[in-house]
């Protein structure tokens, strides 16, 4: 009974390989059922996201190994093994468990601490569970991995602080304004970044947007998308006092917003704060504006610095996360070993009792006429003896399983009493 993970991620393989081995949402159930056809009595979960493709599998027999799993990938995607096998990693047992816990906790992600992967792992598990390709082992493993991930996120700062420029901008806006429903957002120029910030703000309740662009049509199309108003680029100044948040990213080689503009605007606004975000390079907003009271100006470097320092902070939390995960990996492995010990001990018990029964059968005719009661005593005494002998072995086995080393112990017992072959044929 072994646990295997074979797969690839953003680190091990380029996107050209990843996209070839990815399973689309509709292909996953098909892949799951074809997997259980190839490996009957196995349990499996397929995790396929844009950054990773992984198969988690376990089987009571020894049919699963790196090669057989690579063969499955190769057959399903109709791709020669040599083309991708160099990019694949393989983890077994404790390493497979650790890997899944790392993945679910988002420590193996491109952006560490993002929470999307957790829902993807959950999704992958649910799909496999509803396809009935999971059993007691993978159920336990995946449920634990989700709990570990939640634990890691709540007990450490791995998910704290925004790590993208647009979300940092929104975080700053949140520290200036209480809610965005009565705020006006003024977009100057139309870049992807502008739109991203606007989108985040709209998600938080903003519903008034003004868009200005040298190209009026471009302004109009962006404004329409967000229910805003497009204005003539030349009249930009007139609209500044209305704006609570200004996001600028034009291609202009000079400043678009000057100190006088904002001084005037803030006077009209009677000190109501303004947030200005300058994403353009070269800059659109005169940096002198930052000195005006109640005006808060940030440029792309400021935002990037915050994002980078948040990324650094997350890196610092890695050790803490690993500690939490390591503990949980140990707990799972203890459970897993106990799972193996259980059947081994019952095999041992059956083996002993079979011997006992054979001996009793031999003895019975030799005794001749004895009372039923006396025979009962003999049978009872035999069973007690066997149980007493087995008791210690079972107890030590369970302890070993809890503290690790259960697997070796089971093997030793099997060898000792010659039940090795029987065990394999049974499985």
């Amino acid at each position: 009974m072994n646990l295997h993970t074979v797969g690839l991620n953003h680190d091990s393989a380029p996107v050209e390989i990843r996209e070839k081995l990815a399973f689309s949402a509709s292909a996953v159930p098909i892949a799951l059922s074809s997997f259980t056809q190839s490996f009957p009595s196995s349990e499996t979960v397929i995790l396929s996201t844009c950054n990773r493709v992984e198969i988690y599998a376990t089987s009571p027999d020894n049919s699963l190994n790196k090669e057989s799993l690579l063969d499955f990938f190769s057959a399903f995607h109709d791709l020669p093994k040599e083309k991708f096998s160099g990019h694949m990693y393989h983890y077994q047992d404790i390493n497979a468990v650790r890997h899944l816990f790392f993945v679910a906790s988002s420590l193996d992600s491109l952006v560490r601490g993002e929470t999307q992967i957790l829902s993807q792992v959950k999704e992958a598990y649910m799909t496999a569970a509803s396809a009935e390709t999971t059993g007691s082992i993978l159920n336990q493993l995946f449920q634990r991995s989700l709990n570990v991930a939640k634990d890691v996120h709540t007990r450490t700062n791995i998910g704290k602080g925004k790590v993208s420029v647009s979300s940092v901008a929104v975080d700053l806006a949140i520290k200036i304004f209480k809610d965005f429903s009565d705020k006006t957002i003024f977009i100057i120029g139309a870049g992807e970044m502008c739109e991203l910030v606007l989108k985040h703000l709209v998600e938080r309740g903003a519903n008034t947007a003004i868009v200005a662009n040298r190209n009026y049509d471009k302004a109009k199309s962006l404004a329409e998308e967000y229910n805003g108003k497009a204005i003539n680029y030349e009249n930009l100044e007139d609209y500044l006092p209305q704006a609570d948040i200004i996001i600028s990213s034009t291609a202009a080689p000079h400043y678009v917003i000057h100190t006088e503009h904002i001084k005037n605007a803030i006077k009209i606004r009677r000190g109501n704060p303004m947030l200005l975000i300058d994403i353009a390079v070269p800059r659109d907003i005169n940096p002198e504006i930052a000195k005006i009271d109640n005006v808060y100006l940030y440029n792309i470097d400021d935002l990037q610095t915050v994002a980078n320092s948040n990324i650094d902070d997350r890196e610092k939390e890695l050790g803490k996360c690993q500690k939490i995960i390591e503990k949980e990996v140990e707990k799972f492995m203890a459970w897993f070993e106990e799972l193996k010990i259980g059947p081994a001990i019952s095999q041992l018990r059956n083996h002993f009792h079979e011997i006992g029964e054979q001996e009793l059968e031999r003895l019975r005719p030799k005794l001749g006429e004895i009372a039923h009661e006396e025979w009962e005593h003999i049978v009872y005494s035999m069973q007690r003896t066997l149980n007493k002998i087995l008791h210690k072995a079972a107890k030590v086995g369970k302890e070993k399983a809890k503290n690790g080393g259960g697997y070796q112990y089971v093997e030793t017992i099997k060898h000792l009493f010659g039940i090795h072959h029987k065990d394999d044929s049974k499985k």
Binding site: K178, G271, P273, D293, N294
Partner: protein, 300 residues
């Protein structure tokens, strides 16, 4: 004269100790959230406030009037109102960052008020009149809410500085938005101002009818400073309502307003005028003359 605290005052000491612990935990929970739990801080502040109120209730029952018979009592009364208001606002607005600012200040004042016991002053008039209640309670509540609005303006200016300087540390994270602070600053002032007005009017009527401050009552420093406080806050109201001003200016004027509040509250004592309070150590059971101590020592 040396001072021995009366058993009742030890109740307040317990409250102060809890406030000290709370201050440590409140501030700690911002910078070391793993080490200092917010929940424990909540327990400290609630326990502290309970002891504080218990102390005031015992004092009131004993004297049969408001806990303002001595300067020490009235200071602690005022401090309890600040803590009470902060706790209400904290839970009403889910404002985690208010108490870390309030509690160190309240704790500092509490320690200072314990020091007051040493040289306490007592109220000079009959305390059981209707006018006392009409005068003191609104004014104290008004002062307490002005104090809280002062703390909001400190929070506003702190957050404003951090936004300007681009210093985004744990304090930045835990403080709410400027707009929230601006609103709360405004709400606490609009809560306090009518109360101050009622208190001042009641005080004026009281002074005129009972003649306790003499004929020239309007020249009493506390009366003058009280009026100045009223004018400052009226100006703030005008800034916000009339000129609809926001932002840093309002915050700064609020701080000036609070400075006047403090001056009104303790200034007259420092200047030797004692609107209502005088040294009357006879009434203070905690003050024992050295002779008495010597006698008891000999006896024992």
């Amino acid at each position: 004269m040396i001072t021995i605290l009366s058993p009742i005052q030890y109740i307040f000491i317990v409250a102060v100790v809890l406030y000290i612990l709370d201050s440590i935990w409140e501030v700690g929970s911002i910078f070391r959230p793993q080490k200092f739990s917010k929940r424990l801080a909540d327990y400290f502040i609630l326990a502290g406030l309970s002891f504080h109120c218990a102390f005031l209730i015992v004092v009131s029952i004993k004297s049969g009037t408001l806990p303002i018979s001595t300067l020490f009592e009235s200071s602690t009364f005022y401090l309890s109102l600040i803590v009470l208001l902060s706790v209400i606002l904290k839970f009403l607005y889910r404002l985690q960052s208010l108490t870390p600012f309030v509690m160190p200040i309240v704790t500092g004042f509490s320690i200072a008020s314990v020091a007051l016991v040493r040289n306490d002053l007592a109220m000079t008039y009959n305390l059981k009149t209707f006018w006392l209640f009409a005068h003191i309670i609104p004014i104290f509540l008004g002062y307490a809410s002005f104090t809280v609005s002062f703390i909001f303006s400190i929070m506003y200016l702190t957050q404003e500085r951090q936004l300007k300087k681009k210093a985004f540390g744990p304090l930045f994270e835990s403080l709410p938005s400027l707009e929230t602070l601006d609103t709360l600053m405004w709400k606490t002032i609009t809560f306090g101002f009518p109360l101050l007005t009622i208190g001042l009017v009641a005080g004026t009527v009281w002074a005129k009818t009972s003649n306790i401050l003499g004929l020239l009552w309007y020249l009493d420093p506390k009366v003058l400073l009280g009026s100045l406080t009223w004018l400052i806050y009226a100006a703030i109201l005008h800034l916000r309502l009339g000129a609809s001003f926001h932002g840093t200016k309002v915050a700064i004027v609020t701080i000036v307003g609070f400075a006047i509040v403090l001056l009104t509250f303790i200034g007259p004592f420092l200047m030797g005028h004692k609107h209502g309070y005088e040294k009357r150590s006879v009434t203070l059971e905690q003050n024992v003359s050295p002779d008495d101590v010597r006698i008891t020592k000999v006896k024992s």
